[in-house]
Symmetry: C2
Subunit: 199 residues, 2 copies
Amino acid sequence: MRLILASQSPARLSVLRSAGVEPVVRVSGVDEDALVASLQDPTPEETVVALSAAKAEAIEHDDECVVVGCDSMLLFEGELVGKPGTPEVARERWRRVAGKSGVLITGHTVLRVSGGKVVDRASAADSTTVRFGTPSDEELEAYIATGEPLHVAGGFTIDGLGGWFVDGIEGDHTSVIGISLPLTRRLLGQLGVSVSTLW
Amino acid sequence: MRLILASQSPARLSVLRSAGVEPVVRVSGVDEDALVASLQDPTPEETVVALSAAKAEAIEHDDECVVVGCDSMLLFEGELVGKPGTPEVARERWRRVAGKSGVLITGHTVLRVSGGKVVDRASAADSTTVRFGTPSDEELEAYIATGEPLHVAGGFTIDGLGGWFVDGIEGDHTSVIGISLPLTRRLLGQLGVSVSTLW
């Protein structure tokens, strides 16, 4: 059984490869802002599930395959935290979160395709608490200077340099990286697909 | 500043590389059984700290460097769980832990070497709870057939195929893989070494 990953994230690809799956990567532009604007008072869970479904549905699929779409966002003190974009925002962001916790909300959608048609689908969201450490000024400046935190949701990673500055999590670490292995396995199971058939 | 990793574990090396550090790997045989036998009624934390210290002290160091030694063990229902070794033991082990939690105890020792001498040292232990999922019979047999769980402490990994079957953790995921980035950073800090000087 072939898995199509509807994401261009190298971190997600790396998680799947480490876990024995060599996916086909296929990305189709989804207008995320328009989709979110079309939802009525969505919860964070509804938002990431809707985005993961839109991404999975938007790509071209094979005749026989499973398609996985993913989306995630960080909530800090009830507020959605995106990519910092600039060193200034990354610095301000880290000063706020240092020593505190955020919640990473992940949404996944899995489509089962047979005979060229989507015959079944499953979606779910999951939450992981992330406990941020407190980098020293020297460490924070060095981290920002690498550029790594600028272009990732929440301004941190746990699978790169940011791993030094996350003291712990409560939940699934692959969810924080971008694709939750246990959640993906659970959704595949709902569609009658055993994960070991993808290895 | 050069970091010497006193371990031959490819998983530990991979964690450090992903986090921006290219260590020198140097391994010296420590008689772990003899060392453990010499400890009087040690707690699991005392055991992993003593083993991490022995590994760090045993290798040949450079004139100016830091040396990191690591040890970890899995406790399940109060009992130490080692490497399964055989498919039969791995199967029996997984049937016992499925759907339950274990505790991964990690010990690290960091030595600061200057002018060819160990001028300072710091050690600590940390615990991470691991919540095991419940693989189906088909998934468990496929997992065991890969050989991956046979030769790792506790019979599982979270950075390989085993990641599908760990529902979550409470603590630091790099600790479960074998070298805790936040704990290593804390010990380095106690010796006056900022982790960013190792990147």
